[in-house]
């Protein structure tokens, strides 16, 4: 284990072969795909929305100053909309992760940490030597 950090707390040392086998497995590839296909587009979308807002606040003063009701103007509403969209994305991600990511991650974890997972790979390694 090259990483000093993880040595003392992890009880069983997991052989490199296990990680390699899991990495190429269909289950893991599916988990990786589900994770990336959510976080990348959503991250790009909220960053675009945020910078659109910043550019409007920086350069479109007249538009942002239009009063919508009473003295509440477009700028203030868009700012509050940023806060609301942050809450919404948070809730959305938590629900997605709970449904689509956690079960599959837990399955892989149990498979590796269970007695069979590591033992098989350790046996494989010995044979190949």
């Amino acid at each position: 284990m090259g990483n000093v950090a993880l040595e003392e707390e992890v009880d069983a040392v997991i052989p490199a072969a296990t990680f390699h086998r899991v990495q190429v497995s269909d289950e893991f590839q599916e988990l990786r795909k589900r994770h990336r296909s959510f976080v990348f587009p959503v991250a790009i979308a909220f960053l675009l929305w945020y910078f659109a807002y910043v550019l409007l606040a920086g350069y479109a003063h007249d538009f942002m100053s239009i009063k919508v009701f009473g003295s509440v103007n477009v700028g203030l509403l868009l700012g509050l909309a940023q806060i609301v969209s942050t809450f919404a994305i948070t809730t959305w991600y938590v629900s997605y992760a709970g449904r689509r990511l956690d079960p599959i991650a837990a399955g892989i974890r149990h498979e590796i940490e269970g007695p069979l997972g590591v033992a098989n790979d350790t046996a494989d390694q010995k044979e190949s030597k």
Binding site: G2, H20, V42, Y50, G58, L76, L80, I89
Partner: protein
């Protein structure tokens, strides 16, 4: 910025009442720290609180860390004086949490153990990457510490009626000494409990004041805004551009600030370290969710409080008081609830500084002891007891440096200094964090180029900016070597660090460690080997 001009203005409230409320708070938290720290034995206990906190507790502590003096005093003051442009800080600081939630928090929790460097050096060459990550951690913590200590000086001048520099320096020294005691005794567990208490008090206090301000205006936001316009005598306080709309350069500066704010959070070492105090990635996620709700709610309060201060007190009176722009929130408390509310709010604000400083110090100390002493000097063969001993000594040294730096930075703009820390973090850390989590080919050379390139360019641009020289409000007002026009370096240094990381990687001929890459990817997404620790201890 005008902190020391109005020495004649009387301190609102009673200094003796202020100091006794504050003293009571310190006494209560010290008792809690003592109780919490009874079994701080291993490194995991000291740095990561034995990974014993729940997501809700840790999320509250994160909110406590994040809602620093800059968030409370700085943003309320910024909105009260510059109106809409101050609100931008709130939005940038909050949206930034989505970067942490989606891209960083859980993966980081699964891969590392105590510090940011654990993750960054996981599949790269240990020594160079660890040293670079430790250096960037120390520099970011130092900038953030300066901001907090400078805030302490300004706040004290208002609270206790101490207006001379010497008196304020004594108080900064006392704050620093208290912080050393907290961290030495309490470790991460004690510090976390202080953050939790403080966050609850701060949010509750802000909530009470918000409802109060709204009640005075018939629970109608529009009436409050009208009142603010009337007091300010300027309708532009509701529109963007009051501060940043002046010239093309200030408009670019606004974009630069916005970029640094949104990308800085997920790269702040003291926030990242908090993810290690929970037992699982799921709890890390839960922490971020709690933090987002608490911080978002709080920033809605600051909007009302900022315009409330603009309406009920007015920019002129705020700027004329001892403490200047940072005193808007305490002055509003005095206007609403008299000396008792002022005392309470000030004690909470003061505790905020103390607690954030403690959190920063423990992060910097952990980074030095774990990354430089244990991993590089002792090559991973340090005994855990020695590592904790080194961490404790580092706390004392950092405390002294922070006290000296704080005395030097006393009088500088707090929210602004924090934004610089965000810019340095986003430049030096974020590209490497994202690349190492998501880019298979990423190499040691790319990491080192990106971290040092981001760090050096950010600091160099700050040194050559109007912040340091060239204008009347600069740190060195007499000199002028400000060849870089923007006061926030993010617009240049953040993209540069991303490009350097990419360039260093594609030019790197050293073969990658495929096995470690597989291990890191599997660990980061599944949490293998990282989920059981709470049970072990």
């Amino acid at each position: 910025m005008n902190i020391h001009l109005a020495t004649a203005a009387a301190t609102p409230g009673d200094p003796i009442l202020n100091i006794s409320i504050f003293g009571a708070f310190v006494a209560i938290t010290l008792i809690i720290v003592l109780r919490a720290s009874r079994n701080n034995k291993t490194a995991a206990d000291y740095y990561a609180a034995g990974r014993s906190f729940t997501g809700g507790q840790n999320g509250t502590a994160i909110a406590g860390d994040y809602l620093s003096a800059a968030s409370f005093l700085g943003i309320v003051g910024a909105i009260a004086i510059t109106g809409y442009d101050g609100f931008m800080y709130s939005i940038g600081f909050l949206v930034a949490w989505l970067v942490a939630l989606l891209l960083v928090a859980e993966l980081l929790r699964n891969t590392g153990k105590y510090t940011m460097a654990d993750v960054l050096s996981f599949r790269l060459k240990q020594r160079p990457v660890r040293i670079a990550a430790a250096i960037t951690t120390l520099v970011v913590c130092f900038f953030y510490l300066l901001a907090q200590m400078a805030g302490a000086g300004g706040l004290v001048s208002l609270l206790l009626g101490i207006t001379d520099k010497l008196g304020q320096s004594v108080v900064i020294t006392i704050v620093g000494a208290l912080m050393i005691v907290y961290v030495l005794i309490g470790g991460m567990k004690g510090t976390t409990w202080v953050q939790i208490i403080k966050a609850c008090l701060l949010i509750a206090g802000a909530a009470v004041m918000t409802v109060w301000v709204l009640a005075l205006h018939g629970f109608n936001l529009s009436t409050l805004l009208d009142h603010a316009v009337k007091t300010a005598g300027n309708p532009e306080i509701l529109n963007p551009g009051l501060k940043y709309g002046l010239t093309d350069v200030t408009q670019l500066d606004f974009i630069s600030l916005a970029l640094a704010l949104v990308l800085g959070t997920a790269a702040l070492p003291h926030v990242l370290m908090r993810f290690y105090t929970v037992p699982t990635a799921k709890e890390a996620r839960r922490s971020v969710v709690w933090a987002i709700w608490l911080i978002g709610g709080f920033y809605i309060f600051t909007l009302v409080l900022g315009y409330g201060a603009a309406a009920l007190i007015g920019a002129d009176r705020i700027m004329a008081s001892p403490g200047g722009v940072n005193s808007a929130a305490p002055l509003l408390a005095f206007e609403l609830g008299g000396p008792v509310l002022l005392g309470l709010i000030s004690a909470v604000a003061f505790a905020t500084i103390l607690a954030v400083v403690a959190g920063l110090t423990i992060t910097a100390a952990a980074s030095f002891a774990h990354d430089i002493y244990a991993s590089v000097v002792k090559k991973g063969k340090a005994r855990p007891e020695d590592e904790v001993k080194v961490a404790r000594r580092t706390v004392v040294i950092i405390g002294i440096v922070a006290i000296l730096g704080g005395i030097g930075a006393n009088g500088q703009n707090v929210a602004f200094l924090v934004a610089l820390a965000f810019a340095v973090a986003a430049s030096a850390n974020l590209p490497t964090i994202l690349y190492s989590l998501f880019w298979k080919k990423f190499s040691t050379q790319g990491a080192v180029w990106s971290m040092y390139g981001g760090l050096i360019s950010a600091i160099l641009l700050i040194a050559l900016s109007p912040v340091v020289s060239g204008t009347a409000t600069s740190m060195i007002p007499g000199a002028n070597f400000a060849i870089f026009p923007l006061s926030n370096p993010g617009l240049i240094s953040i993209p540069l660090a991303f490009i350097l990381g990419w360039l260093g990687t594609v030019l790197d001929k050293v073969p990658r460690d495929v096995a470690k890459q597989a291990e890191m990817e599997v660990r980061s997404l599944t949490g293998v080997g990282a989920e059981k620790e709470a049970v072990v201890h």
